[in-house]
Amino acid sequence: MTATVDSPRISLPVTPAKHDAGIDYELFLDCVHCGLCTSACPTYLELGDENDGPRGRIYLMRAVTDGRIELDDAVKGHLDLCLDCRACESACPSGVQYAKLIEPFRIHMHKIGVKKEHLSWLQRMLLFNLTPYAGRMRLALAPARLAQWTGIDSLMTKLGMFNLLPSSLRQMHEMLPPLKAHYGSLPEVLPAEGPRRARVALFTGCAADAIFPETNYATAKVLQKNGCEVWIPRKQGCCGAPHYHSALEEPAKQFAQQNCDAFLPDGSPVDAIIVNAAGCGAMLKDYGHLFHGSPQEEKAALFAKKVKDINEFLIELGPIQPMHPLKLKATYHDACHLCHGQQIRKQPRQLLEMIPELQLTTLNESEICCGAAGSYNLTQPEMAERLGERKAKNVLDTNAEALFVSNFGCQIQLGRYLRDKKPSLTIAHPIDALWASYNGEKL
């Protein structure tokens, strides 16, 4: 044959790496640049800029690693705008492990002194010193609870008094959903109802427990009802996600260590460690990876193996049929850390569909991030708002009376963008609905 090309028109040098972010270079090569992930990415959907899509972000990280471009503010901006939602991983047929690229890369950016994000000292205080501690968080929210119940809260809103607060606090105040009474504290052990089918430990979380205590209560009760002995380890702590996603690896590891010790004491193994918040669950399931190559890896991996999302666990166990009807038109939003992070999509829908008279309708773009993404709504308020509004529109289009989501972060964000638009809309965790249907209570 003729026509063979004597020399390719371009050379393909392997440039010496300038930045070593500790990324396994092969992971870059999994990306074949097909672009199939682009329209799955919330920030690309909003902006249409290749730099703000997964293919572009991978390209940027690789170009920086290869020393082709500087790690300047523009590049950093595109990487910081990423939500860590991992929709790209679900979309990518090539199996690109995007999180394993961006996470070490961010930690590297942090190490070489590129400031991660613009959190004010107040936000940092709240995020890293208050929310990760369940007790402190509950105390801190006590005045808010009181203010909401007494009506002082709405009075202050009317009088514009919240405008006197620093903007970051005001933002946090706006995010706060109506708070229900805290259940107080659950006993350390709840016995199984009927014959014991499993012995599980419940991860109650920190911020989640303070803001939506009813979901932890419902989770414990539903598990009990399904024949599980529920143990709530007292020494548990934050999952470490807020720190880890802010490139603060050390504190994240300390929390992980604390949890491994609390949940895996010698001699009393549990069948599963149950978590009802998708964000915490994804982090807990990643503990093995967090301690990769260190002596703690084995125990952390064992811990991770036992972690189950409540929806996932119940479907595997075979849930008992709920009896009381909840006559509702409902829809379900896929929390990123559940559908992309843990590939759990069917189970919560299956649980909801078991409830008599609950009619589940499809939510358009259900797998597109709502903009909550951990502390994202503090660090990237503009994009968080665009995505919040986008989600709100899709929810309103369904005409649903109830919106279910398995993650407290999304629950806060969705409430913020839907509360005023549709005050009658119930926003809750699927387990809240299941418990209501078991118990004959109103949701």
Binding site: V5, L12, H33, T38, L60, P93, S94, V96
Partner: protein, 482 residues
């Protein structure tokens, strides 16, 4: 040829663009431009001087006029999934990214058309009209990402074009901004406009005529029912013989797709459909239409497959199974990332009866060049997609891949076929044009292009070879690949 912007003109160019579309719709910093140096075809790369994101036809008019004044080229870009380097900004200049023009302007179910902006993603339109029982028929495998503007430019096809036709059969009209800034509309909501069929000429012009800013597209009613079958064969030959016989028997399947054993490995790793990994090839065979009669067609297909030594024929029993089967097929290209760091897909066409021959040839070429080649393709219309696996960091492998690709495409021509079924010529296949067409044919095409794009300012050096093309293409200003 217009000259590229120089370091002196580039900032001025960016300022002009900012004045037209506003600063948030312009990219000009070196780090922002790097991701725009290539599309789905990564073998050649070059950065544009500026990327603009217009939001209206008027802005595009102003952009191309400014390019004319400043003497710089421009190139339209949709989602950048082109596999032929259609978006490569040769000579730099302005890249017009249409991703912010993404409105579905109108859907008319009674007259069965939709008016869309070019940045609408193919699948968005289908999702939008699905509740009413309609879809947009051209279904390229990249449909979840590629834009309809890109489909129009490349005349995209997909698995179901065997029965439903390619993009040109579904475009009723186009609004096009010509490189001199004039706006023309060809066709419109009605069928059969008098005069020349300019829409037919624009569809498939690969961005070399101007920027499509609006399209009137046909929407198609969903078939009442499907029967989707998976035939498992010991050899590729048995599978290709089955294809010829099915069509010979007068059955028009909605789709007929072949996957060979290498691609099956990748797809199975990605989607866990349950493909048999020891099979020589599988065929996805789908018939659709009115429910009555479909079972009969399906049975005849099973019979033909069995006669050609099919090990088994499975049936997708639920819609979920059917969708997973199609997902596995449609994302097969991407899944090859699991087999090798880089791949290069070829897009040849041969007469259907020559399929066994060309596949044997491909195997031989793979051995000769020591390159692994996977096959997945639209078997029904003889459109092959050999995927050559390599590592782009290894210059010798790149050379071998290019050599092997050229041999395969030459063989397609020899067998009476062509070098592209649907991905287009772009920059990748430009050297083949003189082999496919006589100098008179090519001169006619150049004259046609000149009617739209006389100065060749819009997407220069694509599709049609210029005299001395190779020399021009390797001139300074072209950046090395990463």
């Amino acid at each position: 040829m217009t000259s590229a912007a120089t370091t002196a003109t580039a900032p001025k160019l960016a300022d002009r663009m900012r004045a037209i579309v506003g600063p948030t719709n312009v990219l000009a910093s070196p780090s922002d431009l790097v991701v725009y140096e290539c599309d789905g075809f990564t073998i050649e790369k070059n950065k544009p001087d500026v990327v603009v994101f217009p939001t209206s036809t008027e802005q595009i008019v102003a952009i191309v006029k400014a390019c004319g004044e400043l003497g710089v080229p421009f190139v339209p870009r949709g989602a950048g999934t082109s596999l032929a380097g259609g978006c490569l900004p040769i000579g730099g200049g302005v890249m017009i990214a249409l991703t912010r023009m993404k409105r579905i302007l109108e859907v008319n179910y009674r007259d069965r058309y939709a008016i869309i902006e070019p940045g609408v993603v193919n699948l968005w339109l289908t999702n939008h009209i699905k509740p009413n029982g309609y879809h947009f028929a051209p279904d390229p495998s990249s449909q979840g990402a590629c834009t309809i503007g890109g489909n129009v430019a490349t005349n995209s096809g997909g698995p179901h074009t065997l029965k439903y036709g390619v993009t040109v059969n579904h475009v009723l009209g186009v609004e096009l901004v010509l490189p001199d800034g004039r706006v023309v509309q060809t066709g419109g909501p009605h069928e059969d406009n008098p005069g020349y069929d300019l829409t037919g000429v624009i569809v498939g012009s690969e961005g070399t005529f101007g920027v499509a800013t609006k399209a009137w597209v046909r929407i198609t009613r969903n078939p009442e029912a499907y029967r989707t079958l998976l035939g498992v064969f010991e050899s590729v030959d048995d599978a290709t013989n089955t294809i010829s016989e099915i069509i010979g028997a007068g059955i028009i399947p909605g789709a007929l797709e072949l996957l060979d054993s290498l691609i099956l490995q990748a797809v199975e790793a990605a989607f866990r459909f349950g493909f048999p990994l020891d099979a020589g090839a599988v065929l996805i065979m789908e018939v659709d239409g009115l429910d009555a009669g479909l079972d009969q067609d399906a049975e005849r297909i099973v019979e033909i497959a069995k006669r050609n030594n099919a090990r088994e024929v499975r049936r997708a029993n639920t819609e979920a199974e059917r969708l997973l089967l199609w997902k596995s097929r449609k994302q097969a290209f991407g899944a090859v990332g699991r087999l090798a760091p880089s791949y290069c897909t070829q897009d040849g066409v041969v007469p259907r009866t020559k399929l066994p021959e060309i596949l044997r040839f491909i195997r031989a070429v793979g051995t000769k060049y020591n390159i692994r080649i996977a096959n997945v393709f639209h078997a029904g219309d003889g459109n092959i997609h050999p995927i050559l696996l390599f590592d782009e960091r290894d210059a010798d492998q790149v050379k071998r891949v290019l050599g092997a690709s050229h041999e395969i495409l030459d063989e397609c021509i020899r067998l009476g076929g062509s070098v592209t079924g649907e991905h287009g010529i772009g920059v990748e296949k430009i050297d083949f044009m003189p082999k496919l067409f006589s100098p008179e044919d090519l001169a006619m095409m150049v004259r046609l292009r000149s009617a739209f794009n006389p100065e060749n300012r819009c997407s220069p050096q694509k599709m049609l070879p210029t005299a001395g093309a190779c020399i021009e293409q390797s001139k300074a200003g072209r950046h090395a690949a990463m």
